[in-house]
Amino acid sequence: MSGADVFTMDPEEVHNAVAVLFEVEAEVEGQTVAVADATAEVAGNLKDANAALGAALDEAGEWWKVFRAGGFTGLVGNTGEYLATCAEEAVEIDDYNAGKFASFADHDLYPGRASENASARPDW
């Protein structure tokens, strides 16, 4: 641990970290949607063939997309938004909520993450 009295931050590097986090979030989301769509198509054919695997595969693909890959991208996005807020205003983790990202983040740096998106989040 760094110790309670230490605090250094290079805001530019933190913004760069945020950019990577958002890129990873988008990349994983894109690839997940693609594999989930392919899964749904195969699952449909299996369902037509009365295979039990059809429905199970359909549900598994959707579950993966929403809860596990979706959970991961949600976490990555959350961390990115927290860091972006932190770079603007050094909030503590326990004080953070998604509304702060919408209010304080420099949206020129993060196009596509407008406050209207952040406000849709459950902890807004």
Binding site: M1, S2, G3, A4, V6, F7, T8, M9, D10, E13, V14, N16, A17, V20, L21, V24, E27, V28, Q31, T32, A34, V35, A38, T39, V42, N45, L46, A49, N50, A51, A52, L53, A55, A56, L57, E59, A60, G61, W63, W64, F67, R68, A69, G71, F72, G74, L75, V76, N78, T79, Y82, L83, C86, A90, E92, I93, D94, Y96, N97, D123
Partner: protein
């Protein structure tokens, strides 16, 4: 539940399923790189301690690493093991049955049979056209050939015609029965593969591990809970695999096991040997270590329990009371169980407490499973099946139990081990005693029922799949050798669930649950059968067509009778008096049937 019809199965695009398995595999690899970016570019790069230093910074870095770790764990457990490998396995299993249909359906249709009924119990009978052809004494050529009725048939001579019609009808019905068994076996294995794959995917959504918490006001508390759960995760996964609730196939179990660190694997063997020992898909060395530990601990636990009950017994004044007699009987039962376990331990352990070596072949004994329930079960191998070029698993029949008081079961695997070594000393053959089912205790009524085989079928399927999954190097030449009811056990498992083996040997069979070799899902030329001509079993064909008969279609080899007693001759197949039969078996075990 799988409701595929034979037409659904025939038309299924298994290649699409396999391609989907590939897609999940590439997806796993590709998005793993993104997780790695979080570690390299974020934690070690932009957010390194030089750029960001504080308690909060430490927590952020920890959060990013936890997120990446969690995702990689999920990718391995779900995207790779379940979705990718699961699709490959389903595609392989369903495609194997499609190949059977490609062979079977043209035979059924071209020969004038008709399929009717439910996909879970198809019936194959004579079509109207074939009935008419028989009644008109104008049978198709294949039927003439099968009955040996050549030349002109005389419909103007009523008696002769009736005889011929009866003979033609019997032959056609026999063939219909064989096709029916074959079709039912194909559909049973296909439905089983479909249901297994569906079940495996359904269980992945049940009780998945938590994700790391999001940053926010409850972060600290949630983080503590998350870390606590994380520390128990591997053990919980192992428990779910051991109790069957994970739904993973042996191949998937093996993938999961190989994904653990050495420390995690060692901890599971040390702390939960009762979960590790019986699981197909875990390498034999680890199972052996775990099972020996459980055996030792079970024997010690019985010691304690017996001492406790004896103390209780000595406190009962009236030695003729119901309470006293009942307790006495319970103690006797426990003593018997202890003797059986100690006998097993003695057979597989040397004087120094190390794994015993079978001197004749120089191979170690391995304990793959044991259980005292029912008649008792045990799976013991001479030689390590994961390393051997050939694996022969012997499935014994009626009366077989953990007790094995006379050592008959061990004698037989030793004899087969000797024979395999004599036949091919250059390549190791591991010889397994697979008593992984509760064998019938008596001939009548128990051995006349198939329930024992049905109950053991899934276990035998899983065992063969497990050997395939844990094999090191090239796949072994894998044989199942059944004796008596053990052949029924193999036949029922092969037809209903499927067994992943190269060869089957039926010795002294009372029938294997199906009427044709084609229903077993193993190359027909690799199914062998033998029975000596004095064996009493020839009068007790209670489980279908005799597998040594021409109608069944197996490769038959000779076994010598020893002496004249029919009952004794049911159990002489591994005696020195049947060297011819033993040599033929050893050729199969060692893959030398073509020589």
């Amino acid at each position: 539940m799988s409701d595929m019809t034979w037409k659904d199965l025939r038309d299924l695009d298994c290649e699409a399923l396999r391609t989907l398995g590939e897609s999940w595999k590439s997806y796993t690899s590709s998005v793993s790189e993104q997780a790695q970016r979080l570690r390299d570019d974020v934690v070690k790069g932009h957010l390194s301690i030089e750029n960001y230093e504080s308690d909060t910074a430490d927590m952020v870095r920890e959060q990013v690493v936890m997120t990446a770790d969690r995702f990689e764990g999920d990718l391995s457990d779900y995207a790779l093991v379940r979705l990718s490998t699961g699709m490959f396995e389903a595609a392989d299993a369903l495609e194997a049955e499609q190949r059977e249909l490609e062979e079977l359906i043209p035979l059924i249709e071209d020969r004038g049979f008709a399929i009717s009924g439910d996909p879970h119990g198809y019936e194959v009978g004579l079509s109207e056209w074939l009935r008419d052809a028989i009644d008109d004494l104008k049978p198709p050529q294949w039927l003439k050939d099968s009955t040996g009725l050549y030349g002109t048939m005389d419909s103007d001579a009523p008696v002769a015609a009736n005889t011929q019609i009866t003979e033609l009808r019997i032959t056609a019905d026999t063939v219909a029965d064989q096709y029916q068994d074959w079709l039912r076996a194909v559909m049973s294995r296909a439905h089983d593969a479909d249901d297994d794959a569906a079940g495996m995917l359904a269980t992945m959504r049940e009780d998945p591990p938590e994700l790391p918490p999001h940053f926010g006001e409850t972060y600290d508390d949630l983080l503590e809970d998350y870390k606590e759960e994380l520390s128990e995760e591997v053990a919980e996964e192992m428990q779910a695999i051991a109790d069957g609730s994970s739904g993973l196939s042996p191949e998937q179990v093996n993938q999961w096991w190989e994904g653990l660190s050495d420390a995690e694997r060692d901890a599971l063997v040390a702390e939960h040997p009762e979960w590790v020992g019986p699981v197909d898909g875990i390498p034999v060395e680890a199972r052996d270590t775990a099972n020996r530990a459980v055996l030792e601990s079970d024997i010690a636990a019985l010691d304690d329990r017996i001492a406790e009950m004896e103390a209780e017994l000595s406190g009962i004044e009236r030695t003729d009371s119901v309470e006293y007699l009942k307790l006495q009987e319970e103690i006797e039962g426990l003593r018997e169980e202890q003797v059986e376990l100690e006998r097993l331990q003695d057979r597989i352990t040397d004087d120094e407490g190390n794994p015993a070596v079978y001197e004749a072949t120089g191979q170690e004994y391995y304990l793959l499973d044991f259980d005292t329930g029912g008649s008792g079960q045990m799976i013991v191998s001479i030689g390590n099946p994961d390393e051997a070029a050939n694996v022969n698993a012997y499935v014994p029949g009626t009366g077989s139990s953990l007790a094995d008081e006379n050592g008959t079961l061990f004698d037989r695997i030793q004899a087969m081990s000797d024979d395999a070594q004599d036949m091919d000393p250059s390549r190791e053959t591991a010889t397994v005693l697979w008593l992984g089912y509760d064998a019938p205790d008596n001939v009548v009524p128990e051995a006349t029922e198939t329930e024992w085989a049905q109950e053991g079928a899934e276990g035998l399927e899983s065992f063969t799949q497990g050997l395939r999954a844990t094999a090191e190097g090239d796949p072994a030449n894998l044989t199942l050798t059944g004796h008596s009811y053990g052949t029924t056990m193999i036949g029922v498992a092969a037809a209903s669930e499927g067994v992943d083996v190269d060869n089957i040997v039926f010795t002294a069979s009372p029938g294997v649950g199906v009427d044709t070799v084609s229903a077993l899902g193993v190359d027909e030329e690799n199914v062998h059968a033998t029975r000596n001509d004095r064996d009493v079993i020839q009068y007790g064909m209670v489980h279908g067509t005799d597998p040594t008969s021409e109608a069944f279609g197996a490769e038959v080899f000779h076994s010598d009778a020893v002496g004249v007693n029919p009952k004794d001759n049911h159990s002489t197949y591994w005696d020195d008096g049947n060297l011819a039969g033993r040599r033929s078996m050893a050729k199969v075990f060692t893959g030398q049937t073509g020589d």
